[in-house]
């Protein structure tokens, strides 16, 4: 039974570094700063780390390079790269490795300098060869095709997509670390420059620098550390395709499966979740994932996000840090969903803290709707 993993490990430390711009720093530099911050928060040291989980798009062997840079000597090394979802999937793998005794202190980390470095997304080495000649612009083209199909099939409107961006901005205005903190209205999103129809500039995530790190231990040890633990309650992954043209139904993602697996392991339902952290590379993502994770019916996501439902003060808080749309997005955002989950669960999220924060669902999306990973965390009361 996969429920063997429920509550067996917890996030005990979180750290970020180099958010917005980190000129002159490398991805490994700011990643190291985030790792140090996460360990300090937990009251642990680098010497305690004996398991590493790492992915990025700038290094062919990111886990190994991280080991070298930090001077680690880990017993367990996992460099699984599923795109931006990697770190949410790593939370499941780390819980497994911790419970199996393969490591005692698991470090999940990421860093990238997309803004100050290349100034653009670093393309993965392996690209869909039957799509490239038609000049798609990854990853945007894939999400635009999904949005266009969702609009044609369900009547979703650009104004409904804009609601997602506006909600993210409203949350970001409560987060001092957020990259974009100016007010934003639906009208402004609709009036922003059209980039890839039907997605305008404000339907697209930021491109920032940034690093994030999360430290996990087994639950028994977590209780003795400095922070209130964010217990891992359940997780799941799913993937059917790499290329968007190979995706069976562009309005229905593998989050249906990853989410169902996570809920089953956690023994929870949608009504038990207080806060969602959904990888919002584009506004359509949040609508797709709310539907596929079962928070509303398929096709009703546009209406669901309207009227401020997912914004501060709304019935269902989503992306309380401001998300990839307004907080930060250094290429692979997944690790930041874990960080925000842990901070909300320990009532440490400052002005954006949600009152009832006993459970948080994190959802990571990889590549071009190609890989989905869901992880649910909770306070001690949920064990």
């Amino acid at each position: 039974m996969t429920a063997k993993l429920r509550g067996k490990a917890a996030i005990v430390g979180t750290g970020t570094a180099g958010l917005d711009e980190a000129p002159g720093f490398t991805a490994m530099d700011i990643q190291a700063l985030a790792v140090r911050a996460a360990l300090d928060e937990a009251g642990l040291s680098l010497a305690d780390v004996d398991g590493i989980f790492c992915a990025n798009m700038s290094h062919t062997f990111p886990a190994i390079s991280t080991i070298e840079y930090l001077g680690l000597d880990p017993r367990w090394i996992d460099g699984t790269n599923t795109g931006g979802s990697s770190f949410v999937a790593h939370a499941l793998s780390a819980t497994m490795a911790l419970e199996a005794g393969l490591c005692d202190v698991a470090l999940i980390c990421y860093g990238a300098t997309m803004r100050s470095g290349a100034g653009r997304m670093v393309p993965p080495a392996e690209q869909p060869v039957y799509e490239l000649p038609h000049r798609p612009r990854y990853p945007m083209t894939a999400y635009a095709l999904a949005a266009a199909r969702h609009m044609a099939q369900f009547g979703t409107t650009r104004a409904q997509l804009a609601e997602v961006a506006v909600a993210a901005r409203a949350w970001a205005r409560l987060n001092p670390d957020a990259f974009e903190r100016d007010p934003l209205t639906v009208e402004e999103v609709l009036a922003s420059r059209m980039v890839m129809e039907p997605l305008s500039l404000r339907d697209c995530c930021l491109l920032t620098d940034g690093a994030g790190a999360v430290v996990m231990t087994r639950a028994d040890r977590a209780r003795d550390l400095a922070q209130k633990p964010a217990y891992f309650l359940g997780g799941g992954v799913a993937s059917y395709n790499r290329a968007i043209s190979e995706m069976p139904d562009l309005t229905s993602t593998a989050a249906r499966d990853s989410g169902a697996r996570a809920f089953a392991m956690a023994g929870l339902g949608q009504n038990d979740i207080d806060i969602l952290q959904l990888y919002d590379a584009f506004t359509i993502n949040v609508i797709l994932f709310l539907e596929d994770l079962g928070f509303c019916a398929k096709g009703e996501g546009g209406a669901f996000v309207s009227g401020g439902r997912i914004a501060p003060g709304g019935a269902l808080p989503v992306n309380t840090n401001g998300g990839g749309l307004s907080f930060c997005h250094p290429g692979m955002y997944g690790v930041f969903t874990l960080i925000e989950a842990a901070r909300q669960l320990r009532q440490g999220a400052g002005a954006r803290q949600v009152d009832k924060a006993d459970t948080v669902l994190c959802h990571g999306n990889g590549i071009t709707l190609s890989h989905q990973a869901t992880a649910i965390f909770g306070t001690e009361d949920t064990l």
Partner: protein
Amino acid sequence: MSQTGPDSAPTTGPDREFQARVADGRLWLQRCADCGAAIFMPRVICPHCASTALSWAPASGLGTVYSRTTLRPRAKPGEAPRPPHSIVLVDLDEGPRMMSHLPGIAPEDIRIGMRVRARIEGEAGSHLVTFQPGEDRT
């Protein structure tokens, strides 16, 4: 490639075989001899039933636009603005879906649900499947 698999294993890489087949101006797809599925992109194994008994057959070339998007490039300083570029996903009548574009067709004339037919473009070894509006072959 030496033939070490079942009798039906291919002797030429499927990408190269695809390029050779479409050189006659028609769209060719693989078809699985065991489960009957039409397959694109070219492979050595059926993604539906794991059979390696894949053969090639000319397709109708007809399909329906499943989704579409248009890139609106920003003008760069000192350069003329680049024209918009539309990309489509086409559901072929035989089943598979493929990414493509419709050369010369204005973005506003490309609609989800419209019927299109394939056209083979490009040089030997680097042929490209594009589409034009149209229900029937002439």
